[in-house]
């Protein structure tokens, strides 16, 4: 018996250890939070840890809906769409005992707008923040911004007195070599407070005894022990051996084993992340292709042929082991603007694809280089390999160039790739976010991820109009028009939406959050 079969036999013989006590939750995922300073990094795992300790004015619950947190209500001021008024929650205290007031909100939003903050990009439309009284705050925007609250869901509120007393009134300016107290210490209003933390090793939280949400949330977890475990096999082993109760990222090939193990279950939900391919259709001539003096991607027929040559069901079944949701549009289904019609996948039709290629003058095919990440999305490189085979069927010889994300993303940002894979999450849950980054012509601060060379002046002006249109029906109609144009022009080749699989002990009752953000105050034990 070959060695790997012996190994497989030993691996298959796994058994399960008993579960944890009912109050402590031992939680693992591949990465650790980068810093405890809530405004220093705009990154998923960092936000997950911050969400337990700190709170925004409002946040997305486990179903992805915006719900009140430190603010109880919000609306634009009647007659002035440029000002949003927030009514704050009464009787909230920080972990250190300080009362939560409007002053803290003004301080925190101004702090998040500073040069050294990583959250400033979400607040560019904010002109001023004012305290009206102790429990009312006005945020004034440059022009009307109907979607301001979508940008506040990860904007955490710190205590002004504590931050100023500890030299943390500004986010750490690390480029200047500064270290920061707030990067390693916390004082929030959240359901959990920090007990201890060793970066990359272990972070311990305990329940906040004075939490305002008592009676409104399950709050059954009294202690959380968070351990990052990078190696996927070790993460699965720790779950199977009962050393952890909750893992966010079990690799798709191990999900079956975890789900069939005694005492463990896998809960799934669609993730807010769509995977697709982009190709430069704007250049006059491509550098990496075999065609001289012309750009085959510039021909819509070629793009359509490629789009219908992708066998999305095969990718779902073989590469993703069923753990994906094939799509025909580069938009996850929760996003405002999504319709079943847009999401329908184009029929896989090789004959039509071949005749389109012939019509376009590429009956003999051509060759081109595809850039693909190999450590960013679920099975990213394997998807690219499958895609290469599918393109081969219509005569396009694709040379695959897979690189780590640290090298892949700069090729898109610096426009050195002509054909690439990209994944996109939509934190605002609105189509404008997709259009602004991926569809708008690349000029100024707009279209920074649009490496397709696609540029349509009508589309651009419609995208800009979305930012100040306060009539939501008109706005939604414009969104629909833009999507129709994008689909008509086949700007991108959509593949699928990722599916989240949270693995947990059987006694844990927890919904999957579409942004991969567990909020443990909602967790209960059975």
């Amino acid at each position: 018996m070959p060695r790997n079969q012996i190994a497989a036999a030993i691996l298959a013989a796994a058994v399960i250890a008993p579960l944890a006590s009912a109050e402590t939750l031992r939680w693992a995922r591949s990465g650790d939070s980068l810093t405890l300073d809530p405004h220093a990094q705009n990154e998923g795992t960092t936000h997950t840890v911050a969400h337990q300790i700190y709170e925004p004015l409002l946040h997305r619950d486990m179903a992805g809906q915006i719900v009140p947190a430190l603010a109880t209500s919000w609306a634009t001021v009647p007659g002035n769409p440029n000002v949003w008024r927030f009514t704050l929650r009464e009787g909230v205290t920080f972990h250190g005992g300080e009362a939560f007031t409007a002053d803290d909100v003004v301080f925190s939003i101004k702090r998040a707008k500073m040069e050294s903050s990583d959250m400033k990009g979400l607040l560019t439309s904010v002109k001023d923040v004012r305290a009206v009284d102790d429990l009312t705050v006005d945020i004034e925007t440059n022009g009307a911004n109907p979607l301001l609250i979508n940008n506040l869901t990860n904007l955490f509120i710190m205590d002004r007195g504590w931050s100023e007393a500890n030299d943390s009134a500004t986010p750490q300016d690390f480029a200047a070599g500064e270290t920061s107290f707030a990067a390693a210490n916390t004082n929030g209003t959240g359901a959990f407070q920090l007990v201890s933390r060793t970066p990359d090793e272990r972070t311990v939280f305990k329940a906040n005894p004075n939490y305002w949400g008592k009676g409104q949330f399950p709050l059954e977890v009294t202690e959380i022990i968070f351990t990052p475990i990078q190696s996927a096999a070790t993460r699965v082993a720790a779950l199977l051996s009962g050393e952890v109760d909750f893992v966010q990222d079990v690799p798709v090939q191990d999900l079956g084993r975890v789900d069939s193990a005694d005492g463990l279950k896998v809960v799934k939900a669609a993730q807010n992340r769509v995977i697709f391919f982009g190709m430069n259709q704007g250049k006059a001539d491509l550098e990496t292709d075999s065609v001289e003096g012309a750009n085959p991607f510039a021909d819509r027929r070629v793009r359509e042929a490629m789009n219908i040559a992708i066998n999305r069901e095969a990718i779902q079944k073989v590469v993703m082991r069923g753990q994906s949701d094939p799509t025909g549009v580069i938009m996850p289904p929760f996003v405002n603007g999504w319709t079943a019609e847009l999401g329908a996948i184009p029929a896989n039709d090789l004959n039509k694809a071949k005749s389109l290629m012939a019509d376009a003058g590429y009956g003999d095919g051509f060759s081109v280089t595809l850039n693909c990440p190999n450590d960013r999305y679920i099975n990213d490189e394997a998807i690219c390999q499958a895609f290469v085979g599918m393109m081969g069927q219509i005569g396009i010889t694709v040379n695959l160039d897979s690189k780590p994300k640290a090298q892949h993303f700069p090729t898109i940002q610096n426009q050195t790739t002509e054909f690439y894979m990209l994944g996109w999450g939509v934190p605002t849950f609105d189509s404008h976010y997709i259009f602004n980054f991926l569809v708008h012509s690349r000029e100024g601060d707009r279209g920074p991820w649009n490496n397709t060379g696609y540029s349509n002046a009508d589309v651009d002006s419609m995208i800009v109009s979305l930012e100040s249109e306060t009539d939501l029906a008109v706005r939604d109609a414009t969104i629909g028009k833009i999507w129709n144009q994008v689909q008509q022009d086949i700007v991108y080749l959509p593949v699928h939406n990722q599916v989240l699989n949270w693995s947990m002990a059987n006694n844990v009752a927890f919904d999957v959050q579409p942004e991969d953000q567990p909020h443990f105050k909602y967790l209960s034990f059975q």
Binding site: I10, T35, A40, Q230, A238, A406, Q407, P410, F437
Partner: protein, 327 residues
Amino acid sequence: MLSIILSRLGQATFVLLLVALVSFSMFRFVGDPASNMLGQEASQAEREALKDRIGLNDPLPVQYARFVGNALQGDFGLSYRTREPVADMIASRLPATLELALVSALMALTMGVLLGVYTAINRNGWLAQMIMSTSLVGVSLPTFLIGVLLIWVFAVELSWLPSFGRSGTVDIGGWTTGLLTLDGWKSLVLPAVTLGLYQMTLIMRLVRAEMMEVLRQDFIKFARARGLSERRVQFGHALKNTLVPVITVAGLQLGSIVAFAIITESVFQWPGVGLMFINAVYYVDIPVMSAYLLLVGLVFVVINLIVDLLYLAIDPRIKSKQVGAGS
């Protein structure tokens, strides 16, 4: 002795400068740190501004000179990923790596020498044959696979040992040690075996081959003829004469245990400098990568120096040659 140390120190400085230069010329191929450091909403202008502020747009020689200048003052900058001082990060993670490396090196050395002597003396015994064949596993299986197999058997199936992490640590004046508690030892066993297995089999095979060579030589026959006990012949005479090559190899292997604990540390989520380095590579954390590579260079230089000094202690002929050459 002093002249050896002095000349070695000169060489060490040169080696370290070279390591820094080579690593600096490699960094531009590992990716763009600004792309990781700013979220997906950042514009190209913001990324350029950040690169300007942290000096990534300066010419390579300028960056290199700045790094060497700061390093000479003990300043390795702030990590791009965690934004902590790199020197503090290394100081807090080094004890984990050094303890792991020392325990696995000691295990490899004692077990390797004992098994090597045993298999050399009882060359045809069934136990020796069995040890020899199983040792093939140690040299041929890749480290991560051994680690995963051990986790599966001892953590998942038997539930004897933890599958990841370093627990039961005690802080003694800034040095965290896991050697004082049962929990600490429990979490150390699997990573130490994984890391030391290859070295153990290597040392065992080397000792065996050297012993068999030495046992054939005339002075062993004379020793036996003088009526010395077999134990004295084997350990006092034969083993001592096999030690020079064994120490060379073991010393260099200790260096690679420290340097290449990366894989073992990432399989077991062992919070040492190897895990820190692998994270730095993913994130293009240049200050951490350069400091780590310098550290590894330093470890190798120090170990080579110690090995050279050990030669003098074990084999007096080397000393007399040195004296001869110097006079």
